[in-house]
């Protein structure tokens, strides 16, 4: 059999298998319900009977849709072999895609479909499903894969789609929970039954138990201040260590390297007492000092960047009579936009996400709690049942500005990050 133009011959030869499979599978045992066993055709009939049962919409859709799409795909493939026209290749691919989608949907919904009439045990998927179901599920995905490959589509899309779903699921789940006005933690569904913004309202305006707005203000203040201070510290130490050769430079660099290997948290108790000695413990200023005090430990990425800025620039400026201060502020800094943004971004996001330092420095001073501490308390054993949906709202609220900021500055972040890799 020769391969028509525009097809990948290696996979094209496999296509007949996937043209036959959906048809054959209709006759394999699909599910066994209390002694009697249904095959694919029987399933179609059963799905028709259940169409009025509540909660069975998705499974019926999946069951019927899947089988129909599978048959369409099979038909398109047969037509392709007869007419050898690329159009049928496209149709087959789309049908296979629907086939796979519906089969996966029924994977998640088939029990609910049968539950609507009979009520199955909770290990239904393992005990009552027969080979037909599992083979159909695998065949639909394999069929999609082979058809796409035969048509010279990128099969990467399948993996990327699956991974995207996994990656987006927690985000989707917490957003849906935030929008859910009824129930608490212990519910067995995801889509809210009464969607609304009640949780967000409570989180922002109800100040009786959790002081979300205050946490937000505290965190914003701490993050902004320590971002300014640490960025300055990081940039100036990186500049000096990259550009200026002076006695003790190596000593300082080795010192920074060694200090960086101690767990940062180890010295927290001592820091706490030092701050107490300064009269600052349990305050937001203390947090700013802690976050920015050891900022110079992360000079490395910025140094790597400055190392790549040609030194001839400095020399030329020096010959023209510029001081090194001018070189730093007027020449190097304007050239370093990517690394400045990277530094600012990382030193802003660090304090947002920090929990340990805040928890030691602030202790029980709940007036100064940051977002991380507050949200962590909200899902403790005694709170989670009552306040879980509010926690979700709080989590969504805090993530939106941070994620937006991060994604819009993503480019610089990647540049800085790859700079750090090349070291």
């Amino acid at each position: 059999m020769t391969t028509p133009k525009g097809f990948n011959s290696k996979y094209y030869r496999l296509l007949p298998v996937f043209a036959l499979l959906p048809v054959l599978l209709l006759f394999l045992p699909y599910v066994s319900t209390g002694g009697k066993s249904l095959n694919g055709l029987g399933m179609l009939k059963a799905a028709g009977e259940f169409k009025n049962a509540a909660g069975a919409v998705l499974p019926i859709f999946g069951g019927i849709g899947g089988l129909v799409a599978g048959l369409v795909a099979a038909a398109a493939l047969i037509l392709l072999f007869i007419f050898r026209n690329k159009v049928f290749g496209y149709i087959a691919t789309f049908a296979e895609a629907f086939f796979a989608f519906f089969e996966v949907a029924s994977f998640f919904g088939i029990k609910k479909m049968f539950d609507a009439t009979e009520g199955f045990g909770s290990d239904f998927m393992i005990h009552d499903l027969r080979a037909g179901f599992w083979v159909l599920l695998i065949a639909s995905i394999a069929g999609l894969w082979i058809t796409m490959a035969a048509n010279r589509f990128h099969t990467e899309y399948i993996i990327l789609t699956v991974m995207s779903v996994i990656w987006l699921f927690p985000v989707f789940y917490i957003t849906m929970t935030a929008l859910r006005q009824e129930g608490s933690f212990y519910v067995n569904y995801i889509m809210p039954k009464q969607p609304g913004l009640e949780n967000f309202k409570k989180m922002i305006f109800d100040d009786s138990k959790f002081h979300y707005v205050r946490w937000f203000k505290n965190t914003l203040l701490v993050a902004t201040l320590s971002c300014i201070v640490s960025s300055l510290i990081v940039l100036q130490s990186a500049y000096v260590l990259s550009r200026i050769r002076f006695n003790g430079r190596k000593v300082i660099m080795n010192l920074l390297l060694i200090l960086g290997m101690f767990p940062g948290f180890m010295s927290m108790i001592a820091v706490y007492y030092i701050l107490k000695g300064m009269g600052l413990a349990q305050s937001l200023v203390a947090l700013v000092l802690v976050y920015s005090g050891s900022a110079s430990l992360s000079y490395y990425v910025a140094k790597g960047f400055f190392d790549t800025v040609p030194k001839s620039l400095d020399e030329a400026a020096c010959i023209d009579g510029a001081t090194k201060w001018h070189v730093f502020t007027k020449i190097i800094m304007p050239l370093s936009k990517p690394i400045i943004i990277y530094t600012v971004l990382t030193s802003f996001m660090g304090p947002w996400a920090d929990y340990i330092f805040a928890s030691v420095i602030l202790g029980d001073k709940s007036d100064y709690y940051t977002i991380a501490m507050g949200l962590f308390n909200m899902i403790s054993m005694e709170n989670i049942d009552k306040y879980f949906t509010q926690f979700a709202a709080g989590a969504v609220l805090i993530s939106i500005p941070i994620a937006t900021l991060f994604i819009s500055l993503q480019k610089y972040y990647v540049e800085g990050l790859s700079g750090s890799v090349k070291g």
């Binding site: 029990k111 993996i159 996994i166 790549t308 947002w352 996400a353 929990y355 994620a403 993503q410 890799v421």
Partner: protein, 453 residues
């Protein structure tokens, strides 16, 4: 050969008059004689301040550092009032802290003294040779030019000293005391115990050693899995997205970057609630008919360990993906073309070209990532808080505790500071050893000057 500062000072000392050697004792003498009045007076005042501090406080502070206090807080019968009154004892914790400060003051003074002697002699020699010495104003000005490093590094190093070096030295010393929950100042004293804590942690048959070794083992297992799973899968993801002809590259990337963009404590707490015994995953699995009883995602030791590794992948894979994306675009495309001509398939090209190339460039990243994972607090603490707890372990430690989360618990919950400090030192030992071995084996120890343009 480079001269050490000490040699230089000795040479300078030979060239100045005998009387000028007075500045060994009177700091700033030489400066004033050479015309640098402000500088000289400044050195002199600092010397006075130091002597004043040593007489007033320093000596007793140093003695206290040796004893760590002798008088315990107690009740004494006051005969006049006919009641017991509390008498404040020594506070070992503060004595240790002030002792460390005193040590640093002395070290600082020694450095200052050497600088003053050397620069003073230099100024005198300059004057003799007829050169003009820079005045105060010029010195200030040089801070923005020749000596800009002193200016720019002052604040960073001060911050580093106050919030990292000083506390770290204090904590390192604490590892050699018995500052645990039973020796809490101000009620009780604590004292030096030498290497006892390390002995207990590493060699004894007590509960604490029975906790340390399994926790260390799990820390290393975690670090290896967390590092390499994220690394390889992240690269694979980057390769998938960056294949020629895959459309919507930016959209795919953004989907995955979302998990970096969301603050990690939020995503970890969300995943934790999802994996809860009555969380959405268990609830859905039951209602979909996969299982009868909820799976012990976070309550069984093995499950919990697997769960934190998987949850960490959710956060970590996109990081590697971003890094690898930057590198992939740099791989010379003729490598792939000639491989294609030789008949290599995509898998072969990935294995023989992409992987070695990325691996070569990212070795330093891989090492620092491994170290970071040894100290990776967030995934463990936010997911399991170290649990499930077990009676086999020292109080409060759980089956998923890393050394660093155990350290946190020892400081924050059970106040066994001396053990926490000893563990911190051991973590440092692990990190330092691993980096030293791997850095030396990798190509990272290259000449940095060679890379500057």
């Amino acid at each position: 050969m480079k001269q050490s500062g000490y040699d230089k000072t000795l040479q300078l000392a030979k060239k100045v008059d005998k009387i000028d050697r007075l500045s060994y004792i009177l700091m700033g003498f030489a400066h004033i004689k050479a015309g640098q009045i402000v500088k000289g007076v400044g050195f002199f005042l600092l010397e006075i301040a130091f002597i004043f501090y040593m007489i007033n406080k320093g000596v007793t502070t140093l003695l206290n550092l040796i004893t760590l206090g002798t008088v315990q807080q107690g009740m004494v019968y006051d005969e006049a009032e006919e009641i017991y009154v509390r008498v404040d004892g020594d506070n070992s914790m503060l004595m240790l802290l002030y002792g460390v400060v005193a040590l640093f003051v002395i070290i600082g003074f020694v450095i200052l003294w050497r600088v003053s002697v050397r620069t003073g002699f230099q100024a005198l020699i300059n004057k003799k040779a007829g050169k003009k010495n820079p005045g105060f104003i010029e010195d200030i000005r040089s801070l923005f030019d020749k000596n800009i490093h002193m200016n720019l590094l002052f604040v960073p190093l001060l911050g580093l000293f106050l919030f990292t070096v000083l506390p770290l030295v204090y904590m390192i010393l604490m590892a050699f005391t018995n500052y645990d929950v039973n020796h809490q100042p101000p009620g009780n004293l604590f004292d030096w115990v030498g290497l006892r804590n390390f002995n207990e942690l590493l060699l004894s048959s007590g509960k604490i050693a029975q906790t340390f070794w399994p926790v260390l083992g799990w820390t290393l297992v975690w670090a290896v899995f967390a590092t390499f799973s994220n690394y390889f899968l992240g690269i694979l993801l980057a390769v998938l997205i960056n294949r020629d002809g895959v459309k919507l590259k930016k959209l795919w990337r953004t989907v995955f970057v979302l998990s970096i963009a969301i603050p990690s404590f939020v995503s970890l707490l969300v995943i934790r609630t999802m994996l809860n015994k009555s969380g959405v995953i268990n609830m859905e699995l039951i209602s979909l008919g996969f299982i009868k009883d909820p799976l012990p995602f976070l309550t069984n030791a093995t499950w919990a360990r697997a769960s934190v590794i998987v949850a960490n992948m959710w956060i970590g894979i996109p990081f590697t993906m971003l890094i690898a994306t930057g590198i992939l675009t740099n791989i010379p495309s003729d490598l792939y073309e000639s491989a294609k001509i030789d008949g290599a398939g995509p898998f072969m090209m990935f294995k023989k070209i992409t992987m070695p190339y990325i691996f070569f460039i990212t070795t330093p990243y891989l090492i620092s990532n491994f170290i970071a994972n040894v100290n990776n607090f967030n995934p463990i603490y936010f997911m399991t808080e170290g649990g499930p707890l077990t009676l086999e372990y020292f109080k409060g430690a759980g089956k998923t505790d890393l050394l660093v989360t155990w350290l946190y618990k020892l400081t924050k919950d059970s106040f066994d500071y001396c053990y926490a400090a000893a563990i911190g030192i051991l973590i440092f030992g692990i990190s330092a050893t691993v980096s030293l071995i791997l850095y030396n084996k990798s190509n990272a120890s290259r000449n940095e000057e060679g890379f500057q343009l």
